[in-house]
Symmetry: C2
Subunit: 261 residues, 2 copies
């Protein structure tokens, strides 16, 4: 059985048993993959409130009970301590380790959040015949820190980060219509057109990822990006934050076709 | 100036200064009115998580910073300690007082939640020419405790309560289409038709409110009801919960036409 047609629980089992490493892109095709943020309980209310207040950049898919390693909807039999192939451990905002499991760090006081990832709506864009340039060019999406502030919550605040996909204006309108159905994975664009209007000076120099070609008559289309909750969580410098490593997503039990708002 | 055309801040000022008492129905026409739940911070994460997990019965409009008496979106200059004309104070699940303000009870550790109320979508139903029977009959909507369990969160759990509006099936379909746009105020119906399917034995004997006439060929249409978060908060018996008294809503600064998801 190929990993692309494997079920999510099989993928997670392979990762848990350290038989599978690396990126999860293309695995368990059709199933939602999620960004992961794990925090001590004392920050959980403010972080959940941050997600509620910033749904386009921090689209919350599921949150575990305090101290619980599984998720009521997106992973009933999952174990968040082991089911991501590479974690990032930050102390006071500094990266201190990149382990394959976090069994030792996960206490009764930790709370785990699953946040929507743009893989899901990119599949919908491709199915509608819309261009997704960085997939065509086979590299990571370009991401930019904007001058738009997120709505703060407790210790969590900071600028909004966006990802960019260039297309013709009529395609951008169609993409807005399509992504309106995907509120749990960033929803409609944050901005279409002039990058300077949201504080981006040079599209050729993204803050994360790689630049893409913008063809004649195309406009840049900017969506909220899952890097935002991570960067906001790190900027708050709590004594401990655990995230997935980029591309090493949590594979959920929910089909993309089951999503929707 | 009539209270119906007064702005929300004016209504709240009159209530704050104890120049206005009683129900807020019909006041500040066009503006969203909200259910209120105020809890100690130690329960706030689990209650917010409960709202996230039960959006149809607990549609969260806004949540204040811990210890803060105003709301970032729905009432920037409001004071939740004084701006509701009658509160209900519960200790360990028992009603102990119904004051006109909660200045004495509101400490730095209290967290205030605003939850959507069905007034908003009833206006939309009426504008679409759909029947809202209890308004025609000029009394409170009938509400029923179902056998459907809410998704639990920490100490918060319990059955889902619904409100019921009878209409023809083709009207029910139109009402579903319309309320799909009002996810922040209960959204689409929980159920249409046979009451027994959701554990309701007798439509003539609602658990709260008053029964309505069901005309020939009409089916009962059930929506999630804002009584649910209150009853769930009380059933958990925390040492202190403050809510609005029924009908004595918090009048927000947001227009119904500005809502939407």
């Amino acid at each position: 059985m190929s990993l692309s047609s494997a079920k999510p629980d099989k993928i997670r089992e392979l990762i848990r048993n350290e038989k599978l490493f690396g990126h999860t892109s293309g695995m368990a095709k059709g199933y939602v993959q999620a960004n992961v943020v794990i925090l001590p309980e004392k920050y959980a209310f403010d972080f959940l409130k941050f997600c509620f207040r910033n749904p386009k950049t921090c689209p919350l898919l599921d949150v575990a009970e305090t101290g619980n390693a599984s998720f009521p909807i997106y992973g009933k039999h999952a174990d968040i301590r082991t089911d991501v192939s590479q974690y990032r451990v930050y102390r006071h905002g500094e990266l201190v380790a990149t382990p394959n499991n976090v069994r030792d760090l996960f206490t009764d006081e930790m709370v785990s959040f699953l946040i929507g990832c743009s893989f899901t709506f990119e599949h919908a864009l491709l199915e509608a015949g819309l261009p997704v340039r960085h997939i065509e060019e086979q590299h990571n999406v370009p991401m930019y820190v904007t001058n738009i502030q997120t709505r703060p919550s407790g210790i969590f605040h900071g600028p909004l980060t966006v990802s960019m996909r260039p297309m013709l204006m009529q395609e951008a309108i169609k993409a807005t219509e399509i992504t309106a159905r995907y509120k749990q994975v960033h929803g409609t664009p944050i901005h279409i057109g002039d990058p300077a209007a949201i504080g981006i000076n040079d599209l050729d120099r993204p803050d994360f990822g790689e630049a893409v070609q913008i063809k004649e008559n195309e406009v840049p289309v900017f969506w909220g990006c899952g890097v935002t909750p991570q960067s906001v969580a790190l900027a708050a410098k709590p004594e401990l934050v655990i995230t997935h490593a980029p591309g090493h997503m949590f594979v959920t039990d929910v089909l993309e076709s089951q999503m929707g708002d």
